[in-house]
Amino acid sequence: MVGAVLLAAAITLAPPAECATVFANRTAFAEECTGTANTFPDRLARQARTALAALGWEVGGAVGPAFTRRAMVAGAASAAFYVHSHGDLYWDTKSDVRVGGFRADAGLCLGAPILLPSEIAAMRRGAPTASLVYISSCHNGERASRLPAAFGIAQRKAQGVNEPDSFYVGYVGTAWQGVAFRFERAFWRALLDGATAGAAFDRALLVAYDPEHLTPEWWGGYGHLPHAPAAGLPDLGGRRYV
């Protein structure tokens, strides 16, 4: 029943292929929940929105309590997707294995709804493979996470031959927010310089971030340029980077 409702909603609300969605969980990291003021979710979401807009995407989504399961239904089918939230290898009772996923905000310190890969796959049914997916959370860069598959992206790295037009970034193990902020800023900046997704990832590895607190991972096509299809390449003064 729930699946049918989600599917129907996804069909009704599916965004066009030019859309990007940016979600960030603010509440779970807010002072009233952790005792410490934390501006990272807003800043991470802002830099993702800015970069995706500059790459030609129409950016929607939500930061804070408006990031709910319902909002996720509307945004999951986007061609470009970014989320910053708590993530883990959550248990999927349907398949009886740990599968990855992340929490919505929903205005809750604890117990916010978990979005599982199987639910996201259902929300995306009929949508083409995502162009760019950035899961800024713990654990969803691990092999055990099924989130890449939920967005239609295989967990393999391709370069040169048979490259898919898609790119997925996630983090292995625990990801610290401040360190992720530095890495993501460098990744977006390189994309805006015209680098391909793989080259942007390589360049972000060169940024001075603490590898004890962040282990980034990617899958997809190294040479993929994740700009909106109708937008074309950003104006690079005649240059294009690989």
């Binding site: 005792g35 401040g178 900046r189 390589d202 590895l205 060169l206 940024v207 980077y241 690989v242």
Partner: protein, 272 residues
């Protein structure tokens, strides 16, 4: 082979200088850029050291530019592009000419992987080949997404400068993906260092209920306001700080940074 590479470098340099006015080799009208160009190592000579002869064919140097780095430092940027305008090599230098960043694009995703000692040896070999200073001490070696990171953290009077130092990124076969060298300005150290137990007391008083400091305080040079401030374009001098790490009541890790003299909160970070 060496002579061939130098000849090719010279050839590329000449082609770039003649064919594209205002390239990395030609001086720019901007005064800062003009002074920077005087001591700049041409990207063509670096390319000759890093790329195979067949990879050098058809490369063109783009006009050099002044940019601000991720760490907020003003740098000269040189880019070599190949057929179709695809970036092949990027080099950033400080305004005094010191090499700060080399990034190669499209380095093969080799499998396999390197042992720590092999990765360190490869990284040192790349640094030596480029004529760069050999960093002191033992590096940290980590892997991420099939790349190996060899990191020498800069130390000043035995105290690490967080996120500063030399970082070399290699592919699984040991080929260079890129390297970066960070040397941030440091603030004056406090005239009197607070004791670590005093730092623990102040840190404990700042924590929310249920949170716990679970390690001894450690001294480090850090970027202030990393946790709460803007954190971008930061050429802010690093401050000497006591770093206190622990866990919040939900089990998430955190770190507090307190000024090593006044014990004022400089910043913090944590895991979601």
């Amino acid at each position: 082979m060496y002579k061939v590479r130098w000849s090719l470098a010279l050839l590329i340099g000449l082609v770039a200088a003649c064919g594209a006015p205002g390239t990395a080799i030609a001086p720019s009208p901007a005064p800062a850029a003009q002074s920077a160009s005087l001591s700049l190592r041409p990207i063509t000579t670096i390319a000759a050291l890093l790329l195979e002869p067949f990879e050098l064919r058809g490369l063109v140097a783009q006009p050099f530019d002044l940019v601000r780095s991720e760490s907020g430092e003003q740098r000269t940027l040189q880019v070599l592009v190949g057929v179709g305008g695809a970036e092949v090599l990027r080099v950033e230098s400080a305004l005094d000419g010191s090499l700060r960043l080399i990034a190669k694009s499209g380095v093969a995703l080799e499998g396999g992987g390197l042992s720590e000692s092999a990765a360190t040896a490869r990284a040192l070999r790349h640094l030596m080949r480029l004529g760069l200073d050999m960093p002191g001490g033992g590096p940290t070696v980590r892997t991420a997404a099939g790349r190996t990171l060899v990191i020498w953290t800069r130390e000043v009077r035995g105290v690490p400068v967080r996120n500063d130092g030399t970082r070399v990124v290699l592919n699984g076969a040991g080929a260079l993906v890129g390297l970066s060298i960070e040397a941030s300005p440091l603030a004056e150290p406090p005239t009197r260092l607070a004791r670590s137990d005093a730092a623990l007391r102040v840190g404990a008083a700042l924590l929310p209920s249920g949170a716990l400091i679970d390690a001894s305080p450690e001294l480090a040079w850090v970027l202030p306001t990393e946790g709460a401030g803007d954190g971008s374009g930061q050429r802010t001098p690093r401050r000497l700080a006591w770093c206190l790490s622990g866990v919040l009541r939900d089990g998430a890790g955190f770190e507090l940074l307190l000024d090593a003299g006044s014990l004022v909160l400089l910043g913090w970070d944590g895991a979601p």
